[in-house]
Symmetry: C3
């Protein structure tokens, strides 16, 4: 099949229209395209619309430093001077990929991993590895408390003798639930023969597949999936810079970052203006005010930002918390960010793998210190200051700090009710070595911090109005306490 | 009024700009435009922007088969060679329309029906009649169990003697509530005289009006409203292909298809990319990868899809479940799709008009069989395979099937609690011939399947992450069981 | 600094691209731009993209009346013939601004107020002052009942001795919560020295800052913030006309106007079509059908609308309730709009500052009368009639009126349960001079009207389908009554 005439392929590709005529494609990729212009052709079309199908790494590297999207020092000639096509990724490092399989004379792997992408983007790949998100699989799977929470969500329950009992969740449910965002562990499980248009062929069977979660454990052992944010075969920077990408995992009541953003002033301006010709989501570097007039998630948390005077507003980082001093969501109390992205190392004084005590005191040994917090906050404030005055920024951050304090306090009050419930034997908790998430009153407690305190803090951080009030905000923080109290009253009337 | 000079009308129309200069308009439609360039002129402007105001049916029919938007065999010359204007629809088949009224010398009917549209689109109209949606009025109105549910929603309740009692819902409330999506029954109720700019005129009075629900019963007896999805006077295919159209009725907690889609990878790519010039929502046929790089609702469920190699990926269908093997939402348990779109025929073994028993066993006699399920699933998978590998697709559908099983099991557990509640006389249910939806504990049970199991299944079907976890997903499925159990405990303490 | 060469500034500005070359900029503004091309340059870029950076007031005034965006009679020559730049607003009326401070030889104030904007837009500013929104700060702050509600939301609660107690909310929380939309009171609190790139400089300290709430009390005593809807430094009419602007404060469960709109037919057409080249969000006047084919919030409530025949459909108004006869949301019962935008004047017969009794009877003396209601309803219906027939419009409004009646009745039922709860001493209410919002059962009552009745009415008003049914609609209105009743049953079992 490798011998196919390049001429006829070119004709085929040109017929499809929008694709650059002169892009130098490797022979190997041409062989892929030959069949895949028909089989799963949608992917090929998608790829043709992307930048990587048009620009060779060598050309990409010629750009001035600030405009570069690649960060390699060296690259083999065979990769440098062809566009990045099917073969360049799916046959790369094939010996490191246990999912590689023989496919028409090539060793092909299905799951392209961050280690593959690192060939051209080593800096970004390394930063991402310092990102909590890269560790999202293990941080959930290997933390006994979080696993207890996950089980309370995913397990099937049965009713008999007036009681509910939990069975263990099955793997498919876990993969479809928590791990759809956190990432699954993808493992080769042998091969399967399949009848195709080209005769019988052999394909690998993968457990945990499909998945594009941010902390996916790939067959080559690497963590993450660049396509989480740069989806499918365009690997678009524009898509990653739009808030819809983040909304895939950050929309629900446990982490309503996207809904909050969408009702913020920034979100309004984005929604109202971003389609206008004066916004440019492709520009590298991204110039504040010129390329965009309100930040998206990426602008504040990731992108290389410049000012029109040529100065750097913020350096690009794929370690998302490099501009964040406090972890506002996901845990029982807000607290300084963990020092290591592997949070399974953390133990609080009570011996639990949590960044704070149940009563809120931070497990400081495992968290970043005051200096590092200040450095990160300063990083973020540089972004704010690109448009806002120092007074504005200071006032904003003071309010956020107040919100952190008050929401932590409202969580503590809920915790005190729960401790009293456990103490009086109305529910079974830590002392009974029972799950702390499996009874209704415990789930009310969870919602206090996982839904309402989180939502209130995100609203405070981004200016999301009602998400700090009636939309899972302070109203619910307050109402939930009253309902927990009523629960104890009704329960006491045995 | 019919004698108005065509010349001056043309001037008027041209002044408005974007409209095709040469479109041949019938004399009758010209007469309509004469006044309606002033009266309700917004509608006229809307029409002028649509394709039907620019292309005659004869021209539309000249297109190659795959590019055709019309499906008629024969059409009268009077209709064939003029664009489809006011008169072509609103005076068509006037004898079949009991809402026809004399209007400046014409017999005009207000409610243009699918039978009118079938003049040019007979195939689509016939397919739509096989759609559950076409039967949405009767399937709700003429099913005793669903009517019981509707009443529990729409009835006014009063409080006296420490008890709540339900009054019957009034017609206006029903029309504003369930039937706003399901469709009302529109019936002529005589005429009314009204003073207008052109003197006193007579107009029909219609009950159940206005409405654009999918199963509207029209005065001519036909079912449905093509404008549900092809809205107002542009009848746009582009609008129908965008997910916002489906969101009108598929956004709430009972059927969160749109929210789930919006956080899926497909939804993200749509939101991030669809405004770019490389997407074409008007193209017929719709070519995967070329015209769009991620499917919308219509792509998976309705549209004629082609591959860039010219092969057909999926045939157009307006029977929305032709690519669906299981009904995932709306009912107590997921089950194979009903064989007939008229679901009032169904009886389970207990004699209830439900596609399953209360304990989940399917009423198989009324449902499609395994072969038909496989045929429909294969239809859908052809769409997936246009971009995804066989392994990907298989893994995805296996997870969905697991989700169907586990969510059905969680509904069964809730049902068992409810049966025990009825059994112990804590609430009045089937045995007491009482409504099964009118008490708080019964409504908790409803939310188990109507909200949480549905949401979880839709999230599994489309990759909607948190809608299967914390956003009315498995978290709520689990929490609700605990709360139902607590309810019984508090109740037992009498 | 004032002496900077205009030439080099022009070069700088031109380098940034999209900005008009010939815009006459005042010398004072040129002085601002000199430094602020570097400091907070994002704002400057934003301003350059707006109309006010390109058109002088004199040019704006030359437009025919219907096309004018300005409404002044007289304007000083110094303002008339330069574009509206930094200095024109931030140094205007500096003596009236207690937040003015010396800044490089200028008296600059940070908080540009409606009184500043009134220099060119006096008519709009005056209308806005008649808007309830302009009074949103005082209407909340100076109403004892609403303050009680706000406290029940914002206060920290602590748990001890088996009881919850409320502490007073702090100012930062209030500003971050209710007043983020209602507007804060912004007050100068002295100055602070700050090290800058240009040496040490002095800046004002403002309490209640930052804030862009609709009823902000500005240092000059004026009410409101034009940037609430015309955000940042473009002051765009296009942004204000898009529903995302309104969604900033009208999205939560207490006032889900935006979500309801988004699933209405109008919202669908907007979302599906508004990016197409046939929509023009900048046009003044705004021509129905030509510039847009479905109304946004602004079209129905604010904008000057024309018909293609040149007749006026609706006059521009910044008094948002000039087209609204009833207040549908925010209060316990729907009722005719207050006669004065200052609602602190209102007293019901029970002496409470509420527009109705607790049992629903309107405090008519303080509300608009039947004639005014009809005038306002007619204003709105003129908008509807631009596209819809009289029958359609009448049918729609009859259903809305039915919904007002039935939702008020469902609120009354909840109120009767609450009165009985208070009467039996299960909770402490008015008679005990206790807060009527601080106990769980009281919060259930609040959700009956603030969430569910409001949502149902908004759905009825705009055609928002499930927001009147399962998405915080009639289902929740009905379920909540059952849960309130169960609460009393469980409570009685002491």
């Amino acid at each position: 099949m490798k011998q196919m005439a390049t001429m006829s392929l070119m004709v085929l590709l040109l017929a499809a229209g929008s694709w650059a005529k002169e892009a130098p494609i490797s022979e190997d990729t041409q062989a892929c395209l030959e069949c895949h212009a028909t089989v799963h052709a949608g992917s090929l079309e998608d790829w043709k619309k992307g930048r990587m199908a048009r620009i060779t790494p060598a050309e990409a590297m010629k750009k001035p430093q600030a405009e570069r999207r690649v960060s390699f020092d060296h690259l083999s000639d065979s990769l440098k001077n062809v566009v990045v096509g099917c073969a360049e990724c799916h046959t790369l490092n094939s010996k490191k990929h246990p999912d590689s399989f023989e496919h028409n004379g090539y060793q092909v792997h299905v799951v392209v991993s961050p280690d593959d992408c690192a060939t051209c983007h080593p800096v970004e790949r390394k930063e991402y590895d310092q990102n909590l998100m890269a560790h999202a699989y293990g941080n959930l799977k290997n933390n006994a408390v979080y696993q207890d929470l996950a089980n309370s969500v995913n397990s099937q329950q049965s009713f008999s003798g007036g009681r509910l009992s939990y069975a263990d969740a099955n793997e498919a449910t876990d993969a479809d639930s928590c791990f759809s965002c956190h990432g699954t562990q993808v493992k080769p499980q042998g091969t399967v023969e399949r009848e195709t248009d080209f005769g019988e062929m052999s394909f690998p069977v993968l457990s945990g597949w499909p998945n594009q979660g941010v902390g996916r454990i790939n067959p080559d052992g690497s963590k993450g999936a660049c396509t989480s944010c740069h989806p499918r075969h365009q690997y678009s920077i524009a898509v990653a810079r739009k808030p819809y990408t983040c909304s895939q995992c950050h929309k629900g009541p446990d982490v309503p970052a996207y809904p909050v953003y969408s009702v913020s002033k920034h979100g309004n301006i984005f929604s109202s203006s971003a389609q206008s010709s004066s916004w440019d989501f492709e520009a590298v570097p991204w110039t504040v005010g010129k390329d965009f007039t309100a930040p998206t998630c990426a602008a504040c948390h990731v992108s290389l930002l410049m000012s029109t005077d040529g100065s750097t507003v913020a350096k690009r980082t794929h370690q998302m918390n490099d501009r964040l001093d406090e972890r506002l969501f996901g845990l029982i109390y807000a607290h300084p960010h963990p020092a290591s992205p592997d949070t399974t190392l953390i133990r609080n004084k009570a011996g639990l793998p949590l960044p704070t005590e149940l009563t809120g005191e931070p497990s400081s040994h495992y968290l970043i210190d005051k200096n590092e917090q200040e450095r990160r906050e300063a990083n973020m404030q540089q972004v704010c200051l690109a448009c806002h005055s120092s007074e504005w920024v200071q006032g904003h951050f003071e309010r956020l700090e107040n919100t952190v304090q008050t929401t932590n306090a409202m969580t503590l009050t809920a915790t005190q009710i729960l401790l009293s419930v456990w103490d009086k034997g109305m529910a079974r908790g830590l002392a009974q070595k029972d799950s702390i998430f499996n009874e209704a009153i415990e789930k009310m407690w969870v919602e206090q911090w996982l839904f309402y305190a989180n939502s209130t803090r995100l609203a405070s951080a981004m200016g999301g109005a009602d998400y700090g009030v009636f939309a899972n905000g302070r109203w619910q923080l307050s109402k939930n306490l009253g309902e927990m109290l009523d629960w104890t009253r009704f329960h006491e009337r045995k």
